[in-house]
């Protein structure tokens, strides 16, 4: 019974995403990157930090443009760009998914509780959200890193602390509208608990919006991570796309090594736009008027 409902839910989501041309493209790109992230050790031709040599001459393969041996060229330290890209995809997808999902979890709950209960709780939570709105992401991350050191998890924590704020606001607004509907009063009269009303009656009604903001939050997380890593605040042990750009920048070869620059830059744009395309498919459900244009 439970499984059937999950399956039904999945089919509905598929239909929403695949019913939109951009949604199909977005979903395809996301699936592609997820596959790469899952299969990283299998498909990567080398190790990310391995210094490589040319097959024919045996010399160190430093700054080689794309060739048969190195499809995406090599870095200033003789490392394979393709391998680094594959490993970086794993890190980026992980950070994007984890912090995107955690932040929507925080944002949705704060929005739902704040909107539903109102009064003092609403006041406290929304003023807290305002405070978070006043918090700039990078300085916050820098302080975190200065205190605890560079690590993947601090990047995730920093992103989660910041990204939830917009989803909380929007979901609160929607909750305020839904909770005034007649069927919520009817559910209260039926004796439903507050918990049941919030998660059983209000949340399903704002699900399209929730999924829209999930996609947004993941996209925002990917961008934030890329920005932070590019500035050198990423985890040095877990290479990400932003981290690759950072390495390129400090090597001083950014003007000559286009093969090193293009892949991470293009992938960041590609993944973020794919997420936006998918969220657009949800937006059309949340706001059907968009469809007619």
């Amino acid at each position: 019974m439970k499984l059937r409902r999950i399956k039904e839910f999945g089919i509905t989501q598929m239909r929403i995403i695949l019913g939109n041309r951009f949604g199909i493209v977005g979903a395809a790109i996301i699936v592609f990157f997820c596959m790469v992230a899952l299969l990283t050790p299998v498909i990567a031709p080398h190790q990310p930090w391995e210094t490589l040599r040319d097959a024919d001459t045996g010399r160190l393969a430093i700054m080689r443009p794309p060739s048969a041996q190195f499809p995406l060229g090599t870095t200033a330290l003789g490392r394979d760009v393709l391998t680094q890209m594959i490993y970086a995809t794993r890190t980026t997808v992980l950070i994007g998914l984890v912090s995107g999902l955690i932040s929507i979890l925080i944002g949705a709950n704060i929005g739902l509780l704040s909107g539903y209960y109102g009064g003092r709780l609403d006041e406290i939570m929304m003023r807290f959200t305002d405070v978070i709105y006043g918090m700039p992401f990078l300085p916050f991350l820098i302080v975190l890193i200065a205190l605890f050191g560079r690590s993947l998890w601090f990047v995730i924590i920093a992103i989660c602390c910041i990204v939830w704020r917009t989803s909380a606001r929007v979901i609160r607004a929607q909750t305020l509208s839904i909770k005034q509907r007649q069927f919520i009063l009817a559910a209260k009269a039926r004796g439903c608990s507050h918990f049941r009303i919030i998660y059983g009656h209000i949340m399903p009604n704002i699900l399209p919006l929730l999924l829209l903001y999930t996609a947004f939050n993941i996209a925002w997380s990917v961008l934030a991570e890329a920005g932070a890593s590019f500035l050198g605040f990423g985890d040095p042990d877990n290479l990400s796309w932003g981290g690759m750009l950072y390495n390129l920048w400090i090597s001083g070869k950014i003007r000559s090594a286009w093969w090193w620059f293009a892949p991470p830059a293009v992938c960041i744009v590609l993944l973020v736009s794919a997420l936006v395309f998918v969220s657009r498919a949800y937006e059309e459900v949340a706001n059907p008027r968009l469809k007619q244009r």
Partner: protein, 336 residues
């Protein structure tokens, strides 16, 4: 008596003072009785129901000398106890605009099942059978339980809400405007359904509407509400044939009668008072053609004229004169 209410007050706090939405209502509903409460919009009908169902917002201040169901005092119960033991098991509700009272994202049958399983332990298959039985009881095909609310017509949704209210065999069903927003044919069918339910189950019905004709057709006893108070309360026949209160007399004038179609309808001039103001006397005094000075200064008691006939008026001894004058248009126009 099944439900006993004495001097119930529900006041809403506003920025400067209180709005006395319900101000000293007393009524009682017997077993297997239909009590019809009529009143114009904004007179406090819905607040009264919300108070009984404990659905008032936080700004409401509720007090009562007595609020009992079947002898059990309801006032000291906590919200949780109320939700668990009273709501739906003993008192259920068919909300106003039942059209919008079903959650659009769930199947109708599942929502009725939810009402059942919130309160009693019942296996899934038993619940499904119960839902099917309820659907049949209100004239809906059991297979429709798998449909979503938007696939239902207005009348079907109303039936579904009635089925839901019957789910746990409550002693009292409160129906808030059960026929409003339906066309007359569907209204007629819903009323027929309600009458059938009355025959089958022992439940009392508390029927609230501004449609006097629905009240007249269904009720054993009638209350006439105005500006948060009940003006007159008696059995159905008495209210229509021997009314005492000037407001009831005025209402009678404002209604077309099938026997005398050419009769001109006389409306009551003016509008209800602002309930945020302190009204020491009778709330109807400002619109009453028979009001004397005492009406404006002293609050009338709920006078029991005859057994079970209560009138909220101090001048009931002049009723013969009132009845005669109330039928004339100039009596009411003289007010302006």
């Amino acid at each position: 008596m099944l439900l006993n209410i004495k001097n119930l007050k529900t006041h809403y706090r506003i920025s400067d003072g209180v709005v006395k939405a319900v101000d000293g209502v007393s009524l009682s509903i017997g077993e297997n009785e239909v009590f019809g409460l009529a009143g114009e919009s904004g007179c406090g009908k819905s607040t009264l129901i919300r108070t009984i169902m404990r659905l008032t917002p936080d700004t409401a201040i509720v007090s009562a000398d007595e609020l009992t169901y079947n002898g059990q005092d309801l006032m000291p119960l906590s919200d949780r106890e109320y939700r668990r033991d009273i709501l739906w098991k003993k008192i259920s509700l068919v909300p106003q605009s039942a059209m919008n009272s079903l959650n659009p994202v769930y199947r109708v049958g599942n929502q009725i099942a939810e009402a059942i399983r919130t309160h009693v332990d019942m296996s899934k298959s038993e619940t499904r059978q119960r839902v099917e039985k309820l659907f049949k009881g209100v004239g809906l095909q059991p297979a429709l339980a798998h449909n979503y609310p938007h696939e239902f017509s207005g009348g079907m949704r109303q039936r579904a809400m009635i089925a839901m209210s019957l789910a746990l065999d409550p002693g009292l069903i409160i129906m808030d405007e059960p026929t409003t927003g339906l066309d007359v044919l569907v209204q007629e069918r819903i009323l027929r359904e309600l009458k059938a339910i009355r025959k089958q189950s022992a439940a009392s019905i508390f029927l609230i509407t501004h449609d006097i004709s629905v009240i007249a057709e269904m009720s054993d006893r009638i209350g006439i509400m105005y500006a948060g108070r009940i003006m007159e309360q008696a059995d159905a026949m008495t209210v229509f044939h021997e009314p005492y209160h000037p407001y009831t007399l005025g209402l009678k004038n404002a209604f077309p009668s099938i026997k005398s179609l050419d009769r001109e309808l006389i409306s009551i001039p003016g509008s209800p008072p602002n309930l945020a103001e302190d009204i020491p006397g009778c709330v109807f005094a400002f619109r009453c053609p028979f009001a004397i000075d005492a009406c404006k200064t002293q609050r009338p008691p709920d006078l029991e004229i005859k057994p079970n006939h209560f009138v909220h008026c101090i001048r009931t001894d002049h009723v013969e004169q009132f009845r005669k004058l109330a039928g004339e248009k100039k009596t009411w126009q003289s007010l302006k």
